[in-house]
């Protein structure tokens, strides 16, 4: 009887202290942004000689699968919009006049960020947390892609224990090769209870010397109809802005 009690206590205590990685990942997603939202982003590609090129995007997302981003700047990209519905992605260029399918691994802007970075779904939508471990004041989540269509096979995500937002993410290909490293910084209160990093920097061994920076602002929870995330609506995305 005593042995059974000890065994029960051991199992019970293990359950108390084990961290549910997938639940934690959902929490992290919600701290980064609401499930449905609008936001503005500035993307800065920095070349080895210090030259910079900037892009501004207006992004809206609904639920787990739908996101659309519209380029507002520079003038050469203005009016382009990219739509993602789950793993389907399209690019609309005003001159071309009709949406064309694109792949997640391509980059419509050049530099280190690819299309799936610009049209990112929640981490918990695309990845399973296989392991959570502690490293001083951070948690390390080992994430594995839920399907082969996800752009990165594995992520290593370091999360600040106190704020529960990512600090650093390493993205790996199926071969085990490091594709890029993302660094979140500059914690900011965006209102509506959203306190999250306002800056994301990335570098990649595939683009040595190059760096890309993403600045976030105007993140607000907002409801959209499903029809906003369709090919027909792509030329009209700019009208969603207030």
């Amino acid at each position: 009887m005593n042995k059974l009690l000890v065994l029960f206590l051991i199992l019970f205590s293990a359950n108390i202290f084990a961290i549910d990685g997938n639940a934690l990942l959902v929490d992290i997603d919600r701290r980064l942004q609401p499930e449905s939202y609008e936001m503005y982003r500035k993307l800065i590609n920095i070349e080895p000689d210090g030259d910079k090129k900037e892009f501004v995007l207006y992004t809206v997302k609904k639920g787990k699968e739908n996101v659309v981003a519209l380029f507002l700047d520079p003038p050469s990209e203005k009016g382009r919009s990219s739509l993602r519905q789950s793993e389907n992605m399209w690019l609309y260029i005003p001159n071309v006049g009709k949406p064309i399918r694109i792949t997640s691994l391509q980059s419509v802007v050049g530099g280190v960020f690819n299309n799936s970075d610009l049209l990112r779904l929640d981490y918990s939508t695309e990845f399973n947390a296989e392991k959570v471990s502690e490293e001083k004041d951070q948690l390390l989540l080992d994430l594995k892609a839920k399907s082969r269509t996800v752009s990165y096979d594995r992520l290593k995500m370091w999360v600040d224990k106190k704020t529960q937002v990512p600090v650093k993410i390493e993205a790996y290909a199926a071969s085990g090769m490091l594709i890029k490293t993302l660094h979140y910084s500059k914690l900011k209160d965006f209102g509506n209870g959203i306190i999250r990093p306002a800056m994301l920097e990335t570098d990649s061994p595939l683009h040595k010397g190059y760096k890309s920076v993403m600045l976030f602002d105007g993140i607000k929870p907002r409801r959209f109809s499903d029809e906003v995330f369709t090919l027909n609506y792509m030329p009209r995305v700019g009208e969603l802005r207030k």
Binding site: K53, Q85, V96, T103, G110, R148, E227, V228, T230, Y233
Partner: protein, 422 residues
């Protein structure tokens, strides 16, 4: 001294703040927005003086070896918002200077009113570009648009005066989106007269489905200024880096020119099929491949094109009747871009070539499968400087005697295009 020291200490912070500032107020929706581009093109055309089209284009006996051309373009677009509507404008102006003289042209490509009462419905009335189909180089289902140039398929084109609407509905389940786009295109002596010489009310429509991750369109055009036609197209990602697309159209009573063995030009009518199948593939080394096969049932056979090229090489002085007939055949479409029946389009391109961000390289080839002539166009595109795009392109045309690309006016062309976005 203390102030200087203080400034020195905060300088890195100031630089950092300046580097990554972001003010979103300048990107919020405005009542009026405008943009566009200015473009300059320098061309060197090396002529093929043995070709059929050279003989038609230069009957005066001056026989130039080459033509240099300077082209300046301005395209301006604007949008004015009011209530739940907007007024859209796109104007296009060109000036060119070459062997044939100077030319100026201004066109209104688009001028239309759009009402967006809700997300599920919108209406557009005015001059509007409607582009249908999934093909990159050709669009067999582009029933109410001007033909695109396969050598530059992304170039903007002039629209037609239409009234159209979009009805969109989203669903849960395998059918994610269903939309219907009806379009009315009137033709009269004053409206859309370059769509057809036959005045009538043309009604076209597109039913779009996103079904099981596949884009599918069903399209139609009624029997009016142009003969009736129906079509279907699709596009689907087979894997994350491999896309498959296709188009199919059936055209009832298409008019087709015919040159018989006795050198008589006639116009016949027959039902034809146009189809296109293509892929888009991204390799692990980040190279994009686009390949398309195009069958044009209304195109001219190899024999028909051979008869035309033979006629076009007639001496305008010694055989004026045959030379005149060749000019008539040209107007009937024999010299149009890709006038044949079966083509292959292959394009490979790579962004950030040689690890230089903003440098793209590409090679495009269009092959006439029936006569095995082809064009080959390598290009460099550089977009590093803010709001600019520079493109250097070389286009080589190759083919035997009496083949499409062997009988073009040019042997090769070198083109530099500089575009500044405003």
């Amino acid at each position: 001294m203390r102030n200087w020291l203080h400034l020195l200490l905060i300088l890195p912070t100031l630089v950092y703040a300046e580097e990554f500032s972001f003010d979103i107020s300048s990107y919020e929706k405005k009542k009026f927005e405008w943009g566009g581009y200015l473009e300059g093109i320098l061309e060197y055309n090396h002529l093929n003086d043995k070709s059929a089209l050279y003989n038609l284009n230069f009957p005066d006996g001056k026989n130039p070896d080459s033509i240099k051309r300077v082209l300046a373009t301005a395209e301006l677009e604007g949008l004015y918002r009011f209530n739940l509507s907007n007024l859209n404008f796109r104007g296009h102006a060109t000036a060119s200077d070459d062997y044939f003289g100077r030319e100026y042209q201004t066109d209104i490509y688009e001028l239309y009113y759009a009402a967006n009462p809700n997300d599920q419905f919108n209406v557009e009335v005015g001059k509007r570009i409607i582009k249908w189909g999934k093909g990159y180089a050709w669009s067999p289902v582009g029933f109410i648009e001007r033909p695109k140039d396969p050598n530059d398929p992304d170039l903007s084109r002039e629209g037609f005066i239409i009234a159209g609407a979009d009805l969109i509905q989203s669903y849960d389940g395998p059918l994610k989106t269903l939309s219907f786009t009806p379009v009315v295109l009137p033709v009269s002596d004053d409206i859309n007269e370059d769509y057809s010489s036959q005045n009538d009310i043309n009604i076209a429509g597109k039913l779009y489905l996103l079904y099981r991750d596949t884009d599918i369109d069903f399209l139609f055009l009624n029997d009016a200024s142009r003969s009736a036609r129906i079509g279907v197209d699709f596009s689907r990602n087979i894997t994350a880096n491999f896309e498959l697309h296709g188009e199919f159209s059936y055209i009832d009573k298409q008019t087709i020119a015919n040159i018989d063995a006795q050198n008589q030009l006639s116009i016949d009518q027959k039902s034809v099929v146009r189809s296109l199948f293509g892929i888009r593939y991204l390799t692990k080394s980040d190279i994009t491949w686009i390949a398309e096969y195009y069958h044009n049932g209304a195109g001219q056979s190899k024999t028909q094109l051979q008869r035309f090229y033979t006629l076009a090489k007639s001496d305008p002085i010694a055989s004026p009747t045959l030379y005149e007939l060749a000019n008539k055949a040209r107007l009937a479409g024999y010299a149009a871009p890709n006038a044949g029946q079966d083509y292959l389009y292959i394009r490979t391109s790579k962004k950030d070539t040689f690890d230089i961000v903003y440098l793209s390289t590409g090679i495009t080839s269009i092959i006439n499968i029936n006569d095995r002539s082809f064009s080959l166009a390598p290009e460099l595109v550089y977009t590093d400087f803010t709001n600019t795009e520079s493109r250097l392109r070389f286009i080589l045309l190759q083919g035997d005697t009496n083949t499409e690309f062997g009988e073009k006016q040019n042997a090769f062309k070198i083109e530099f295009r500089f575009r500044y976005y405003i």
